[in-house]
Amino acid sequence: MKFDKPIDMIVGTEVAGIISHENVGHPSEGDRIMGREAAQAGESFWKNLEIGATVGSEYVSVSDDPTIIGSPGYYKYDDEGVPARKRKLMVKGTLNEPLLNRDYGARFNLESNAAARADGYDREPIIRMASTFVEPGDFTLEELVEDIKEGIYMKNFTEWNIDDVRYQSKYVGQECYYIKDGRIQENIRIKRPVLELTSVGLFTAVDGCTKEVAFKHTGTCGKGDPMQVAPVYLCGPEVRMRNIRLG
């Protein structure tokens, strides 16, 4: 099936999770914003913005929380001894707080929000995510679907990548279904639809999320030189985006 015109998309919890990690979590890292990772993982499009800048619609918020018990990103204190707390990175589409350790907390004239993690005794603690997720919204999945005339439900993804300032992203669907006249057509699979969007293009297109976050998608995040690997959660509810042109 070909889609020459823009359509509506619902992405599943796994896709919402990786979007929250790649398009919000990484650019929110304070050391990346200030250039310390520039030669490796890159910088951040947040560099050119202020806290309070609008990068998405009011229907989308993203947080990172190391206090979710049982999550791979759980800790009570970070690796600099700072008590862990939830960080609200993006609130209703506006930038709210970066991830900070003691060093970058001071550079930002703020305090550490306990984001320092090291993956071994012989590695420096650097700013890392823990459990990053799109916050729940007000809809059921059925309610998101029934308001779509034509679209795609991208339940999960196969390929992804994103540029080094975390702005131009690409997600390719794996298990995807056609939505027609408010119903998921279970017998019509869409093969590998490509979402190739900027972070702002993506988040400004969001107009609804489901009520529950599926805290189940684990991953390992790589950062730093030498490479450090941090266990994380990448989670979300289902998220609807309007008027998307496929790549």
Partner: protein, 459 residues
């Protein structure tokens, strides 16, 4: 110390009647200078002594890497734990045997081009080398710079239950610099790797700073690129990113795991006949020099793609026995996660043989506009077996039209590895050893390719 501990482990495990043991002692002295915003952030030393070992009994296997314990008693307790764990496993589908000995000769063991005689004294000069590179980049037009200089020394001793007993040592280094303007759109890069920092490094490190700064300056006012199909010229960094993939899939374990599309393609023409990519364990002035593999088999240069044709898979003793082949000297104790290791074949260092073209020759290959791409990262697959992938350019990117280099930005290479291989038009004469972070490494030249698909964000 090193041969004592390997002998101690060998003796202890042979008393437990294991069928095969490999013990590898390594002593690493590694240093890293990391810099950002034009200043050195950290200057670190790692001193690491460790043992990698592998044992097999009745087809069951286990491998691990451990720090040197405080005492023989503690060492035996650790080995006992791994031994008991091994006995609870099912026989490994990836194991048949290890190299049977006796110890052969190793033609490259005595190479003089792998140890830096000034390793300790050059360490004192490295902050100045880094600062010189930053200065060169700033003079060339950048405003900010970041990167790393990594260098180190490795002493190794390998012993096996089949009579292998051998030592080797080497040095290695790699350097990368990224030059930036005040914002995030205007950047350039340079990276290089080698074995003898005191000889190879100083001039190159300064030159790379200048190269990165010049590229950064040329990227001023870069325009959004237009998606489409283009001829492209890939720098050695991008060639390394893209052309490492298919040769590394020429691996029976990759076929068994289901992530290689090369299963039945031996003898198939994958690229034009002027393309040859080998696995080269002992190429001098590189970052990798392995005269023997993890089982003690002497290594040799192995053509993987020869004159465009898929010629060989890499093998260790086990996969050679499974597939009625010969070991190619490519045995490694690879990381399988959670601290455990698996004995499997792998690549030492991929080497894309140079062609005959200068960069100007590649630019002037025909009159069509061509896009030059200096760097990419995050190569990812829609389907690894089919070869559908994308990778995202960063740093210098130029649309070359009528001799003019116009800076462009924000495009993505979205294509198929098999198409890209087949469409190679010309190869540069400048194969060099590159290494950047975890993204790519080994020997690659500039390469020109026809009809590559580039995409852009739709919103």
């Amino acid at each position: 110390m090193n041969s004592e501990i390997t002998q101690t482990i060998l003796d202890y495990l042979e008393k437990k009647d294991v069928d095969a043991v490999i013990v590898h002692y390594r002593h690493e002295r590694d240093r890293q200078i990391k810099f950002s915003e034009n200043q050195i952030d950290t200057n670190k030393i790692w001193l690491n002594e460790a043992i990698d070992f592998f044992m097999a009994k009745d087809g069951k296997t286990i491998g691990a890497g451990i720090a040197i314990p405080d005492s023989d008693k503690q060492l035996m307790e650790i080995l006992d734990k791994y031994y008991k764990t091994m006995l609870k496993l099912t026989p490994s589908p990836f194991y048949r045997d290890i190299f049977d000995g006796p110890q052969p000769t190793y033609p490259n063991l005595k190479s003089t081009k792998v140890r830096d005689p000034k390793f300790d004294s050059i360490a004192l000069e490295t902050p100045d080398l880094v600062n010189d590179s930053i200065e060169a980049s700033l003079k060339a037009g950048s405003k900010r710079n970041a990167g790393t200089l990594f260098f180190g020394e490795l002493e190794r001793h390998l012993q096996t239950s089949k009579g292998i007993n051998i030592s080797f040592s080497q040095t290695y280094w790699d350097f990368n610099i990224r030059a930036m303007d005040e914002g995030t759109d205007q950047t350039g890069t340079g990276n290089i790797a080698g074995s003898i920092l005191s000889e190879e490094g100083p001039d190159l490190i300064r030159k790379l700073g200048q190269q990165a700064g010049e590229t950064c300056k040329k990227m001023n006012n870069a325009k959004q690129g237009t998606a489409g199909t283009y001829d492209v010229i890939l720098s050695p960094y991008v060639s390394a990113n893209i052309f490492s993939e298919l040769p590394s899939q020429a691996n029976p374990i990759a076929v068994m795991f289901g992530y290689s599309g090369l299963k039945d393609k031996i003898g198939e023409q994958l690229a034009p006949d002027f393309v040859t990519i080998t696995d080269h364990p002992t190429k001098e002035h590189g970052n990798v020099f392995n005269p023997f593999d993890f089982e003690g088999v002497p290594t040799k240069e192995l053509p993987i793609i020869e004159k465009g044709i898929l010629k060989n898979f890499v093998h260790n003793t086990s996969t050679a026995l499974m597939f009625d082949a010969q070991s190619t000297g490519n045995s490694f104790l690879g990381d399988s996660g959670g601290g455990l290791r698996v004995l499997a074949p792998g690549n030492h260092a991929l080497n894309f043989n140079p062609g005959t073209n200068t960069l100007d020759d590649l630019v002037d290959f025909n009159t069509k506009p061509v896009i030059y791409i200096q760097n990419t990262w995050y190569k990812r697959f829609t389907n690894q077996i089919e070869g559908i992938f994308s990778t995202i350019p960063r740093d210098g990117m130029f649309l070359i039209k009528n001799g003019e280099w116009q800076p462009i930005k924000k495009l993505r290479i979205s294509d198929n590895l098999y198409n890209v291989m087949k469409n190679i038009q010309a190869v540069g004469n400048d194969t060099q050893c590159v290494k950047w972070w975890d993204e790519y490494h080994d020997w690659y030249p500039h390469v020109r390719i026809a009809d590559v698909h580039l995409t852009a964000a739709t919103k």
